[in-house]
C-alpha cells in the first residue's frame, strides 16, 4: 500500500507541476492584465506611466521567466500577493477554503446520507410505486437550477417565514460557531438538494446492476435474509462505481459552488476563484485553480483506496512493477 501511495503521490506532483504551467500560460494569454484595468480607470495615463506600472507588477518580463520566478517562490512557501484583495494569497485563501470545506463537507455528507439510502430503497423494489416516487424526487433535484432553488429557499425561509438569514456569513459582531451554522443552513440545504438527486440515481443504478449478479442469486438461494443480501453482499460492490462519482464530485463541488455562494453571499472558494479570474488577479487565480486540481487528485487517490477496501480483489500489490 505504501508503494502504491508513494507512486500516486509522485504522479500527482507531476500532474500538478504540468497543470501549474498550463494554467499559468492560459492566465497569461487571457486578454488584459492588472495594468489594463488601471489604464481604463485613468484616462490621463501616459505610455511612460504604463511601462512603469508594468514593471512594478512584474508584467514586463516574458511569460516563461515569470513562471520560473513564481514557481521558485512557491517552492519556498511564498504564494505571492493577491492584487484584488491586497493581501498575501494564503491569507485570502485560507478563510475561503475553510468556509468551502464547511459548506461542502456538510452538504456532501447530507447528500450521501440521504441519496445513498434512497437509491438502495428504490433499487430493492424496482419499478414499484416507491421507486417511481424516489425517481421523481431525484429528477426534480437534478433538474432544478441551483440559482432558482437558492432564491426559492431564501424567499421561503427568510422572506415568508423569516426564520433564517437570507445570506451572508455570520452576524456582524458575533464570533460564534453556532451563529455561523445558522448562516450555513440555507446554502447547505441548496447544495444538498441539488446533489442528492444525482447520488440517488447513481446508487439506484449501481445497486440494480449488482442485484442482478449471480452471487446475489446464490446468496438468496442460501436463504439469507434480504437485509443481509442487500447490505452484506450487494452494497460493497454497488458502492464501487458510486465512489468514482463521489471522488470526481470533490473537484467539481470545490469550484462548482460558485452560484450557491453568489446567491447566498457566502465567501467561499467558488466565488473567490471566479473573482480572481475575472479581476486579473493572477497569483490568486492560479493557486485557486491548482487547489481545485489538487482536491480532484486527492479525491481520486481516496477513491483508489476505497476501491481496495470495498473489494479486496483490487489489491495494491498487483500494481507494483
Amino acid at each position: 500500500m505504501l508503494w502504491f501511495l508513494g507512486q500516486r503521490l509522485v504522479q500527482s506532483a507531476v500532474v500538478l507541476t504540468v497543470m501549474s504551467f498550463v494554467i499559468f500560460g492560459l492566465i497569461g494569454l487571457m486578454p488584459g492584465d492588472p495594468v489594463d484595468l488601471l489604464i481604463s480607470a485613468d484616462p490621463e495615463m501616459t505610455s511612460d506611466d504604463i511601462a512603469r506600472l508594468r514593471e512594478i507588477y512584474g508584467l514586463d518580463r516574458p511569460l516563461v521567466e515569470r513562471y520560473g520566478v513564481w514557481l521558485w517562490a512557491v517552492l519556498q512557501g511564498d504564494f505571492g500577493f493577491s492584487r484584488l484583495f491586497a493581501q498575501p494569497v494564503i491569507t485570502v485563501l485560507l478563510p475561503a477554503l475553510g468556509n468551502t470545506l464547511a459548506l461542502l463537507g456538510i452538504s456532501l455528507a447530507l447528500a450521501l446520507a440521504i441519496g445513498l439510502p434512497l437509491g438502495i430503497y428504490a433499487a430493492v423494489k424496482p419499478y414499484s410505486p416507491r421507486d417511481y416516487a424516489v425517481n421523481l424526487m431525484a429528477f426534480a433535484g437534478i433538474s432544478i437550477p441551483s440559482f432558482w432553488l437558492g432564491l426559492l429557499l431564501i424567499i421561503l425561509f427568510a422572506v415568508v417565514l423569516g426564520i433564517l438569514p437570507a445570506g451572508g456569513f455570520g452576524t456582524p459582531g458575533v464570533d460564534d460557531w453556532s451563529d455561523k451554522l445558522i448562516y450555513l443552513v440555507l446554502p447547505a440545504m441548496s447544495l444538498t438538494l441539488a446533489s442528492v438527486g444525482g447520488h440517488t440515481r447513481y446508487m439506484r443504478a449501481s445497486m440494480l446492476e449488482t442485484l442482478r449478479q449471480d452471487y446475489i442469486r446464490t446468496a438468496r438461494a442460501k436463504g439469507l435474509s434480504e437485509r443481509r443480501v442487500v447490505l452484506g453482499h450487494a452494497l460493497r460492490n454497488a458502492l464501487i462505481p458510486v465512489t468514482t462519482i463521489i471522488a470526481l464530485d470533490f473537484g467539481f463541488l470545490f469550484s462548482g459552488a460558485l452560484i450557491t455562494e453568489t446567491i447566498f453571499a457566502y465567501p467561499g472558494m467558488g466565488k473567490l476563484t471566479y473573482d480572481a479570474v475575472m479581476g486579473n488577479d493572477f497569483n490568486l487565480a492560479l493557486i485557486c485553480l491548482l487547489l481545485a486540481t489538487l482536491v480532484t487528485l486527492i479525491g481520486n487517490i481516496l477513491a483508489d483506496l476505497a476501491y481496495a477496501w470495498l473489494d479486496p480483489r483490487i489489491g495494491f500489490e498487483a500494481r507494483q512493477p
Binding site: 487571457m30 485613468d42 493581501q87 426564520i163 438569514p165 456569513f169 456582524p172 434480504e226 465567501p267
Partner: protein, 561 residues
C-alpha cells in the same frame, strides 16, 4: 423491514435537524440605531489611493473626507480645508514654474478640529507624506496626473500648506483625489520599501485601526467578501452620524439583494452599487409601498463608440444616418420608465457648461434613409442596403458587455431599428473582462461598441476626444479615444478649455466642443444612466449627487423619521 425502519429513522433525523435549524431565531430586526446597507461589491483594498473602485469610495465616504469635493449642486466646496482657495481671495496665486511654464501656487488650511480616529491631529506632516507616496513612481498610487502636476508642497505651519502645480488650469483648486494618509501609521510601511508599500499598507493589514480614519465613522470590523461594520467616531469634528452602527453587506447577486431587503436582512440598497434602473422599476412595482425608491440621473454617460478606422464609418453622413434611425426617447420611456434621460451630447444638462442650443438628432427614419440613398446605398438585398456600385453591404459589428441585461436589451432594440432602414447590425458581445481588458483598450472592435463613461462635473474629455490619446501599440495602448477621433479644432478646444480661467469664455469654448461633438459624431450618445436608491420609509436625508461622489460623504445629514 429493518432497512425500511432505518430509512425512516434517517428521514426523521434529517427532519429533526431542519426543525432545530428553523427553531433558531433569525437575525434580529435591525434597530433604529443601526442601518444595514446592501451593496454588490466588496472593496479590493481600503487604501484610498491604490486602485479605483466604487465599493471602496462608498465605504470610505463614511470614514474619511477629501480636502475638496463637488457638492449636491455640483459646486466645488471644502470638506477638510477651511476655505476654498481662489485667485480672487488671494489663496491661489499664478506663478511661473522653475522651467518657465505657467503654474499656480494654491494654499489650503486644514480644519483646526480635524483629528485622526486615535486623537492625533491631522497636520501638514500627513499632507507631505501623502504627496511623497504619490510622487514616488514605485508605489503605483493614483491618480498619477495629480501627483505629477503638484511638483512641490511647502508646509507653512502645522495646518497650512501650499501646493505648487506646473499647470494653470481652471480647476486649479480641486484636489478631490488627494486623499490624506496618516503619516504616523503608514510612514514606516512606505519607508521600509516603496515597491512593497501597496502590499504592506496599514489600510489592508490593519484595516480596523482607528488612526486611519477621520470621518463620522470608523471601520471596526471587516469580513472579506461579506461585510464591513462602521461605528461612530468620537473624534469626528461635525454633526455625529445618525446611527450608532452602520453595516455594509456585500451581496453580489441582485435577486438575492432584493430578497435580503424584503427579509429585513438589510435595510437599504445603495444606489451607487445596487440595482439597475430596470430592476428597481420592477421592484418598485411590487414593493413600492414598503420602500422609497429614489432615481437620480447623473454623469454616467451611456453611448456607442464608432470605430472611425472603419471605411463606412469614416463617412460622417453614415454616422448621421445611424443616429437618425434610432428612437432613443422610446428606449428611455419603454425600457427605463423615463428615468434615464436621452443624452444629446457628452455633457449632462445638469452641468453648468451644458449647451442647450446645440443641434439635436431627432428620430427620423425617413431622413436616415434619404442620407443612405444619397450615399448610394440604394440596392436592397433581403432588406439590407448595398452600395449601388461596389455592392458592399451596409453592415456593422455591434459589441457590448455580455451578461449586462439592460445593455443587451437596448442592443436588440437598436438592431431592429437599424434593420428597418436597411442597416445590418451583427451583435457580438464579450464578457466585461475581455471587452474592457483588450477589445476596447486595444481598439479591436470593428464597428460599434456600447458602454458608459463616469466623469466628474465639468470634466474635460481630453482622454476620450484628443487625438493624442488614441490608443496604439506604440504608446502602449495609453488613452481612451477608442473611436480614433482626430479633429484639430477639438484638440485645440480641449487645450484651451483646460487653461481658460474666465467662466464665460470657457462656457463658449464648451459650447463649441459640444457642437463639434454632435456634428462630427464620433460617438452616438444614448442616455444618462440613473442610480436607483431603495430605502426604508423611515430613512431621511439621503440625497444622491448625480456625480461620482458617493452619498456616504454626507452621512451626517441622514436621519430617522
Amino acid at each position: 423491514m429493518k432497512i425500511r425502519k432505518r430509512l425512516y429513522g434517517l428521514a426523521l433525523a434529517v427532519l429533526a435537524a431542519v426543525g432545530v435549524a428553523l427553531a433558531v431565531p433569525g437575525p434580529a430586526q435591525a434597530e433604529r440605531d443601526q442601518l444595514t446597507i446592501g451593496i454588490t461589491q466588496y472593496p479590493s483594498t481600503f487604501h484610498p489611493n491604490i486602485d479605483s473602485m466604487l465599493a471602496k469610495s462608498y465605504i470610505l465616504g463614511f470614514t474619511r473626507r477629501p480636502f475638496t469635493v463637488h457638492d449636491h449642486s455640483w459646486n466645488l466646496v471644502c470638506m477638510l480645508c477651511t476655505k476654498l482657495p481662489t485667485i480672487e481671495n488671494g489663496l491661489a496665486v499664478p506663478e511661473r514654474t522653475p522651467g518657465g511654464k505657467k503654474g499656480i501656487a494654491v494654499t489650503y488650511t486644514i480644519r483646526p478640529d480635524a483629528f485622526w480616529g486615535d486623537g492625533k491631529p491631522i497636520t501638514t506632516d500627513d499632507v507631505l507624506f501623502t504627496w511623497k507616496v504619490g510622487r514616488n513612481g514605485k508605489t503605483g498610487t493614483l491618480p498619477i496626473e495629480l501627483y505629477r502636476s503638484a511638483y512641490k508642497i511647502v508646509a507653512q505651519d502645522d495646518k497650512t500648506f501650499t501646493m505648487h502645480f506646473d499647470k494653470l488650469t481652471f480647476n486649479y483648486n480641486a484636489i478631490n483625489a488627494f486623499s490624506l494618509l496618516p503619516a504616523h501609521v503608514d510612514r514606516v510601511n512606505f519607508e521600509a520599501d516603496p515597491v512593497t508599500y501597496k502590499n504592506k499598507t496599514a489600510f489592508d493589514t490593519d484595516t480596523t485601526n482607528e488612526a486611519l480614519y477621520f470621518g463620522p465613522y470608523l471601520i471596526t470590523e471587516t469580513k472579506r467578501g461579506s461585510h464591513v461594520v462602521l461605528e461612530r467616531n468620537p473624534k469626528w469634528w461635525g454633526k455625529p452620524g445618525p446611527f450608532k452602527r452602520i453595516i455594509i453587506k456585500t451581496i453580489p447577486n441582485t435577486a438575492a439583494l432584493e430578497a435580503n431587503l424584503l427579509s429585513g436582512n438589510i435595510d437599504m440598497i445603495a444606489g451607487e452599487l445596487g440595482l439597475t434602473v430596470d430592476q428597481a422599476l420592477r421592484f418598485e412595482k411590487r414593493h413600492g409601498r414598503k420602500f422609497n425608491v429614489l432615481y437620480k440621473s447623473g454623469l454616467i454617460y451611456e453611448h456607442i463608440d464608432l470605430n472611425l478606422d472603419n471605411p463606412l464609418l469614416q463617412d460622417r453622413n453614415i454616422r448621421h444616418a445611424l443616429i437618425h434611425a434610432i428612437d432613443r426617447e422610446a428606449i428611455s420611456q419603454q425600457l427605463f420608465g423615463g428615468r434615464q434621460p436621452v443624452a444629446h451630447s457628452n455633457v449632462n444638462p445638469l452641468d453648468w457648461v451644458h449647451a442647450p442650443d446645440i443641434p439635436i438628432f431627432a428620430h427620423d427614419p425617413k431622413k436616415a434613409q434619404d442620407i443612405l440613398v444619397k450615399a448610394e446605398f440604394t440596392k436592397l438585398n433581403k432588406g439590407i442596403r448595398h452600395h449601388a456600385e461596389t455592392g458592399q453591404a451596409l453592415r456593422f459589428e455591434f459589441m457590448t458587455t455580455a451578461g449586462s441585461k439592460a445593455r443587451e436589451l437596448v442592443q436588440q432594440v437598436l438592431q431592429s431599428q437599424w434593420k428597418s432602414v436597411g442597416i445590418d447590425v451583427r451583435i457580438r458581445n464579450e464578457p466585461a473582462r475581455v471587452y474592457f481588458g483588450q477589445t476596447m483598450t486595444q481598439r479591436k472592435f470593428t464597428g460599434l461598441a456600447m458602454y458608459a463613461w463616469l466623469s466628474a462635473p465639468e470634466s474635460v474629455p481630453r482622454g476620450q476626444l484628443h487625438s493624442a490619446h488614441i490608443p496604439t501599440r506604440a504608446n502602449g495602448w495609453a488613452g481612451q479615444n477608442y473611436p480614433g477621433f482626430r479633429n484639430k479644432e477639438m484638440d485645440a478646444l480641449i487645450e484651451k478649455i483646460e487653461v481658460e480661467l474666465d467662466r464665460e469664455k470657457r462656457k463658449a469654448l464648451w459650447r463649441r466642443l459640444q457642437e463639434i461633438y454632435v456634428t462630427e459624431l464620433p460617438v452616438i450618445p444614448l442616455y444618462f444612466r440613473a442610480s436607483a436608491f431603495v430605502m426604508p420609509k423611515w430613512l431621511t436625508g439621503v440625497e444622491p449627487t448625480g456625480h461620482q461622489y458617493a452619498t456616504s460623504l454626507w452621512v451626517e445629514d441622514w436621519g430617522v423619521k
